[in-house]
């Protein structure tokens, strides 16, 4: 065991863990932060994605002992950080995922949303291709990719006050946009 000094979602924590434990294991099984998912546990799926100093990394392939002195952000920290910065409600990424129905089972969502948040922090106006590139390390086995990318696109459009692109099945309108409420019966 060694005592680790971690900074998780702005909280400075002391936690005892064996030297071979990954950051994911410490987050889930010592700190109770189960939003970061243990999927493949070997770097294929991206479900364990967290932000370390603002960059998306795989918590399953990061030793907790090497995360000392870094700012770690998990999905649990997105909304508090957004509110602390003066925002209302959830982080705009979470909010857009919610409105767009960008999830089925939800297992990939924490990782997806953190990859999207890291992208938007670096590049507030990414192209659809850049969005796909940034999310390329997050697998969704429900294959809900279309609405996931659309959620990030909507988030970008609303943050820059641009008209959001329409999904193919609703030409001319974006049924999820706050500015253009859905006129049809589509959820």
């Amino acid at each position: 065991m060694r005592v680790l000094h971690l900074c998780v979602n702005g909280d400075r924590l002391e936690v005892a863990a064996p030297p071979h434990w990954t950051l994911l294991e410490v987050l889930r099984y010592k700190l109770g932060l189960t939003g970061s998912k243990q999927g493949c546990d070997k770097g294929d799926c991206g479900a364990c994605t967290v932000l370390v100093d603002g960059k998306p990394v795989l918590a399953c392939l990061t030793l907790a002992a090497l995360s000392e002195g870094r700012e770690i952000t998990t999905i649990e920290g997105l909304m508090p950080a957004h509110r602390q910065a003066g925002g209302e409600g959830a982080d705009p990424v979470q909010e857009a995922f919610d409105r767009c129905g960008a999830l089925q089972c939800g297992f990939c969502q924490p990782g997806m949303m953190l990859s999207a948040r890291a992208l938007l922090n670096d590049n507030p106006t990414p192209s659809p291709a850049e969005i796909k590139h940034a999310l390329s390390g997050n697998l969704c086995r429900c294959t809900g990719y279309t609405q996931i990318v659309q959620a990030v696109e909507l988030c970008v459009a609303e943050s820059t006050s641009k008209k959001p692109r329409s999904p193919a099945w609703a030409p001319g309108v974006n049924p999820w946009s706050r500015a253009e409420p859905a006129s049809g019966g589509q959820d």
Binding site: P19, H20, K42, G43, K55, P56, V57, L61, G137
Partner: protein, 330 residues
Amino acid sequence: MKSFELVMPKTLDEAIAALPESGQPTERVRVLAGGQDLLGEMKESLVTPERVVNLKTVPGIEGHEPTAEGGLRIGALTRLIDLERDEGLQGSHPMLVEAAAAVATPQIRSMGTLGGNLCQRPRCFYYRNPHSPCLKKGGTECFSYGGLNKYNAILGGGPSYIVHPSDVAPALVSYDAVFTLLGPAGEREVPADSFFTLPSSGEVTRENVLAANEIVTAVTLPAGREAWKATYLKVRERDSFDFALSAVALALKMNGDLIEQARLTLGGVAPKPWRCTSTEELLVGRKIDEETCRLAGEDALRMAEPLEQNGYKVPMTQGLIRRALQALAS
């Protein structure tokens, strides 16, 4: 993952001192840089080190600086994402940037390092399966030869048929890079092309000449490569992220329309980055036209000996060579 002693050296000398001395068992110690390959190997119990030496606490082996000779020295602990996003490198050494960007996922490039990418172990199904006692793990047989070999070598295979998994390595071979290796006796410089070994010429359980008590500390690109045209092209089965089915690292020094010098290295098709020296000679003095593309593809794959399931790699690689030449012609 089995428990281990985690060593946090403050200097390179301390790191070297934590590695096994000559004659000691080498399997008990592993060097950790980004850890993106090593932790996967440890989780599968392919390696079970008693000691892990963390290089991230060692200062001075990240970033890049010009050398006195006009080249560029890049620290081995430089993260792949920092190569990918380096605007200076994008202009001066685009092939290295393209290769770094082709590695795995944004998450893995955020942690993965240049040196770690060069020293990563093979991805062969039989090697990665903890229950398969294959040749690479000290067993007696390469199961891919008569088994599942869709992703295995078509060039330089035997007695093991792995392919080298690195994207960055073929680009560095085509840039004539030199690797700096540090050991107890000091530094030695090894050209990229000589760093990687074939299973038939080196130890079959290793892919390079790095000794167990050595660390790759830097990669140096020679002067003048800014004036070459170069590109790295990669084909993957899954486009979002995957290892290469085939890859081409092509660098050309042009004189007007004519090729004055060429470097062609293939990835994903051989147990090491596969330098095509005869094709490089064939290209010299030629224009990039249809006949040149055809001849280069034929020559580079002349020695190919596909296994039962990977014959597709021959036309795929020839197509990639054609695309790389055409990309550099425009």
